[in-house]
Subunit: 424 residues, 2 copies
């Protein structure tokens, strides 16, 4: 007997047939004797409809701009999960499974007061656990809680993943299964490299790098939360036949386990290759090399909501002038250049150079902490394909390389192969 | 300065433009210095969509019949008012009016545990009143409260009227305005008698008879509640221009006031003519005239969910046998006859006679309590038009007459005229 939290996203509960399919997945675990809590998103499309109404209402009411009260936004948008949680409870009951829906305010899932982007502060899991003992499945509305003002608070887009992990931590679950429209986490994007393999396990830290680098499987915050509370999190497909062989396997179901690195016995040096296209590079030449220069550059860019990614600054030769390079999404390049133009007097650079249409390719692996030569292998492999490296940044478990966008797929395949990721 | 509760139904909040129109009505009262609570239904069509999902879900999940948990029904269906209350709060804020939405569990509106048909047990109006003092408008999700199990409970269809009256009682409002798609209560159906007049005032008791007789303006329970708590309730149109002259008149706005009879100084003898078509009459001849016979007839009919309306039993000539006549909706006549056939041994009647296609016409007026000859006037007027009366029942403030359905409109117009209702 285990305690399992299962999470299903919007496409998995898009209509009544799919909700029935979700109920079959749940029934399988219940029939196996497990204690189960299910976390659901709103039916696909509903959240967008509700958000659109909230955004349009001020204009329809004659306001000049679309400012709205985030507390009302939360009240309105959270209704989507209220509906899907109730429908799943009915589906389970119809299949003979004792179940009830729980809204955030009923458990309660307490959040802070940052409406529309709230963070979970505390979850009282005692009533859920008491009902597990009675054989009752908890169907929890994801994405929401209740703030200190006793009003509904939502966690922001993708927040249902976070709800699921937080509930798993609160009820001390053995596993948190995130059912999604992919069947696990791959060594790289299978559309780029058909030889990409689904990983059996990946460490939390690696998953954080994979997720924030564009492997859009899990919300980053949910992975952070899982890492802090050591929640064993499983990514698997909601479109698999719920009753196919092995689906109910407690230790090795199909999918990818995200877990503490200590649980990964045979640690690979490199576990995955991530990439992001449509990057632009901006270089400032011959900056004054003094305290405050970085702040003068990146503060105004952040104020303009420009998401800066790689930052490379080299040590200046004579201690007076240096070069700074960073990347932004290509679509923000012109805006970034305009911001920099306005900061020219403060920053005191000589020349700005920029180039769009670049790609960032990243090699990720906890094992590289203790292995030398990982970076050199990448550089050599790319050189053999005549791929020019424009910039490099590294962290303990990641090497990111900026290249011409036209070579992105070739670079991904080359690196995937050179680290042996295409071999089982 | 007055304290006003305003209620808007589903057609009044059907889309963002109409919600804006509702907000204009509210702003008018706020600008006049009044304290305002608004009660809203779900956007038209939403409740039906949600109810349909609830009813379909068990079948989709493979259940033989459509049984569902009423607590989940309530959770799902109440989401409709959650959305409309939030949107109206945003519309008001966009127009510079301080407002916030309130769900039933937040106020709280406490109900009993009869999910899907709950009754309000208690409303704590103190927080709403405190915020009135701060100039804040309360936008309350109608149709819902929270049960002793801390779960959402709905009041059943039309329950938003009841929510509004109950909140008006809880905050001791001066008036409860029910905005609807008609502009008041008429002396009879204007589609039958174009000379029908909108009443300025009608007593609670009269409105109860009008409403339950088919003048479908207000939910019967809300009128009962208004009568008990002496809530002055105003029926008016939500489609009038919110800023037309007289709309904000505190004492005489356009519409019909439903109030205590003591407030109606010049009491008319007859205030309205109601009618119901498609009635069927069923007569049992030569029943045993002994205790328990009525129960043996009407108990099984109630168990079969057949709504019996008029019941006429005459005193038997010799104390041993009597006749009993009652009406049911025409569509239920065959079912009723089958039930009676099954009860024949118990009831011990001789013959059953039935006739469909009848109409019931009712004359209503509190003044008839103290006026003789009201019934005689009706009988004489109908006789002059050669309309045959099949059955008669009377209460203190109502005379109901069963006639051939073909004469329904003629009878309504004749009675409307003979009591002078077409004269201002």
């Amino acid at each position: 007997m285990a305690r399992i939290v299962m999470k299903f996203g919007g496409t998995s509960v898009a209509d009544l047939d799919r909700i029935h399919n979700v109920a079959r997945h749940v029934k399988r675990e219940v029939d196996a004797g497990h204690e189960v809590a299910v976390v659901v998103s709103a039916m696909a499309g509903k959240t967008n409809e509700l958000v659109n109404w909230v955004q349009q209402m001020p204009k329809v009411a004659g306001a000049n701009a679309s400012f709205y009260d985030a507390r009302e936004y939360d009240t309105i948008v959270a209704s989507g999960e209220q509906v899907s949680s109730g429908l799943l409870a009915i589906a389970l009951q119809s299949m003979g499974v004792d179940a009830r829906s729980w809204q955030g305010w009923q458990i309660p899932i307490k959040t802070d007061n940052a409406h529309a982007a709230a963070r979970i502060v505390d979850i009282d899991g005692s009533e859920l656990i008491r009902r597990f003992g009675m054989g009752q499945v908890a169907v929890v509305a994801g994405f929401q809680g209740v703030g200190p003002d006793n009003r509904v608070a939502t966690l922001g887009r993708g927040g249902s993943d976070t709800s699921a992990v937080a509930i798993a931590a609160a009820v001390n679950a053995d596993r948190c299964d995130i059912y999604t429209d992919v069947d696990g986490v791959y060594t790289t994007d299978p559309r780029v490299e058909p030889k990409a393999r689904r990983m059996k396990k990946i460490a939390f830290e690696e998953m954080l790098e994979m997720a924030s680098l564009g492997a859009k499987v899990l919300q980053v915050r949910s992975v952070e939360l899982a890492m802090v509370h050591k929640v064993r999190t499983f990514v698997r497909s909601s479109f698999d036949d719920p009753d196919a062989p092995g689906m109910g396997d407690l230790l090795n179901p199909p999918g990818t386990l995200i877990c503490d690195e200590e649980e990964i016995v045979e640690q690979e040096v490199v576990t995955g290759i991530a990439y992001a296209k449509d990057e632009a590079q901006i270089s400032l030449r011959r900056l004054a090399d003094r305290p405050g220069v970085s702040a003068a550059i990146f503060g105004p860019l952040a104020d303009a909501h420009i998401n800066v990614d790689m930052i490379v600054q080299n040590i200046s030769e004579d201690g007076s002038r240096t070069d700074m390079t960073f990347t932004v999404p290509s679509g923000d390049a012109d805006k970034a250049l305009a911001v920099l133009e306005g900061q020219k007097q403060v920053v005191g650079y000589d020349v700005v150079q920029s180039e769009s249409g670049l790609a960032k390719v990243s090699v990720i692996g906890i094992g590289m902490r203790s292995h030398a030569g990982v970076a050199a292998t990448a550089f050599k492999a790319l050189a053999e394909k005549s791929i020019n490296i424009k910039a490099i940044t590294t962290s303990e478990i990641k090497i990111s390389i900026l290249i011409d966008g036209a070579y992105a797929e070739l670079a991904v395949r080359t690196l995937h192969s050179v680290y042996g990721l295409d071999k089982t």
